[in-house]
Amino acid sequence: MSKEPLTIALVGNPNTGKSTIFNALTGLRQKIANYPGITVEQKVGTSIIGGVLHKIIDLPGAYSLNYKKLDERIAYETLIGSYEHEEIPDLALVVVDSSNLDRNLYLATQVMDLGIPVMLILNMSDVAKGKGISINPDLISNSLGVPVVAISAKNKSDIDQLKQKISESDLEVPEPLKWGPDDSLKEAMNLLINEWIKPYTNIPESARSIEALRLISEGEFNNAFYQFEKEEKGKSTIKKARELVEKGGGNPMATEVLSRYNFIGECTSNASSITSQTKASLTDRIDAVVTHKVAGPVIFTLVLLFMFQAIFSWATPFMDMIDLLFVEGGNWVANTLPEGMLNDLLVDGVIAGLGGVVIFLPQILFLFFFIYVLEGTGYMARAAFVMDGFMTKVGLHGRSVVPLMSGFACAIPGIMATRTIENWRDRIITIMVLPFMACSARLPVYALMIAAFIPSTTILGIFTLQGITFFGLYIFGIVMAVLAAFVMKRIFPTGQQTPFIMELPAYKMPKWSVVFQNTAERGKVFITEAGKIIVAISIVLWFLASFPKTEMPVLTQTDNTEYNSSFDVTENPESYQLRHSFAGQFGKIIEPVIEPLGFDWKIGIGLITSFAAREVMVGTLNTIYSIEEEDGESSTLKEKLINDVNPETGQPVYSIATAISLMIFFALAMQCMSTIAIVKRETNSWKWPTAMFVYMTALAYLSSFIAFQIGSNL
């Protein structure tokens, strides 16, 4: 090989060891900068190989060159030299994970189509060996037609071997399209290249066939990425090309991918073999069960059921402790501070409101603890895989699964995560259904209603009716999300799905420090973020519920009948005052609207405040009930709810039907300002957040109505 300095690019899927190889090659001779104008790291260094100083570029990890994601686009543009001021690399080192060869080779076959010399690095040889996979690099090299070297990047002598191989390389350009597109696909590619890409776009020559394939599979061009003229001409040519493929009996969306994988399969089937089954397949054997068509969903359901049961039972002692703390704290403030308005405000407003919510901290901590453990062990990826089955059946894209699962914590990160969905309509549908996933802000409301109104009957030894109801509410959220997506998919068809590859990492022990840190962080956010809002709203609410001051009329024998409708004998002055306060009057105004759902005006006030954030509901109820409570009394919110009696009917305010209706309302209604704001930002239009608010809240109202009417007439 020539002794010229070369530009060598490292490409590969994420986590294949590119950076490790880059560091080993360059040592300290590297600099990290951002690509101009964007925040993806660009790592460039130099390395002396065979006595020549070469330039080494570490490209961002990519699964394919279809450049829909920023990282992939940068890798792609660097390889074809379209990136500003960058020359086309003289050699592309494709790094693959030997223990996951077939999938990793997909990118390799794409890079081989770019008309630059390619060398394949089978990294992680040690891992593959450990799994009992043995690979013959020479056979792979023969069938792919590129030099191949098997190494373990952590091993210094292997790096030397790699350098040796690089310096021996004759920089031959691999045969393009070696994977063998069939005739109709080739014809379609030529049509696109000759009639559209060559004459009308600025795509560099080396990238034309990749671009043609991309246009055939996606059916549309992304005008953000390159310049072109005559858009109409482009669209009609794409259409013609796709028709050619269809005429040849292929599916324009899948033909390329399938042919590449067929080719890869042929290359690897005789070049690699799995020798020992034992160690190799612990992960695989677990996966055979865990991701099984039938067993998979069953296991997923059991995991969730166990998780929610545990959250419900394990958190109880801690919750009792916190409860005691706030009750005692409240009493202490009440007795220490001189009597007055501030005293009442602090005790009935701030402490009651905050205490009502902080009590759920243990459950929140357990919830996130489980979520992070499931994530850390690698099970979460399997759960997503299992869900993917359902999702694609209803027509949702596989990429929707991970955003939806993060909706269990909070809809906002979930909505941001939908950015990985390339199809705009798929993305919008995912955003629109994501708030149905039971986020952690709903937990306090669910937990309160369940603890107060669902009996704790034991079922199957370890489960209780309470735990099962809790679990049921989470499943309800998933089902509603899927149903809503199904319906929306019918209203706005999004076309066929492109194949989606999901990575299933090996199972491992979670990193406990990470689990605990993240859980603690979530707890902190819950206390500070929710806490601030709750304190603020409790204070405002206390004022609204304490003014104007009204005295309860003194009851005498004669005017008994006259006052009968506005108060009753059993009512204490505090609740009379509350009913006539601003909050009470307002509650009475909205009561007719929510009465059919089984809610009284106090719940109504709670509902109003919960539109700021769902967990505020619980704080609000606690504040309202504390104001109403006669001085000196103190019971938990749960007891207050159970004992609350409607002064007009003499019936308990809450029945099981009310509690269920309320939980359904919280499961479905769009009660989160922050989500609305994020949806507005992500879609850049008020149309979507408005539609979301209206349809979700209407659905909530209707469902609660039906649930309550059925429930109370049983």
């Binding site: 501030l342 405000l345 930002r681 879609t683 239009s685």
Partner: protein, 49 residues
């Protein structure tokens, strides 16, 4: 209702809290919804980049 020290503090707290809530639920969402979104923002998007 006489206006004593405690009443003063209580109303002071109310004032602070009202400012906070307006900022949190009215001003911030408006500001946030105005900042430009990232890439892949769809047909309704008027992306500059």
């Amino acid at each position: 209702m006489e206006f004593d020290f405690q009443t003063g503090v209580a109303f002071g707290m109310l004032a602070i809290v009202l400012v906070y809530l307006t900022n949190r639920f009215v001003l911030t969402p408006i500001r946030r919804s105005k900042t430009s979104p990232d890439h892949n923002c769809g047909p309704d998007c008027k992306c500059e980049h």
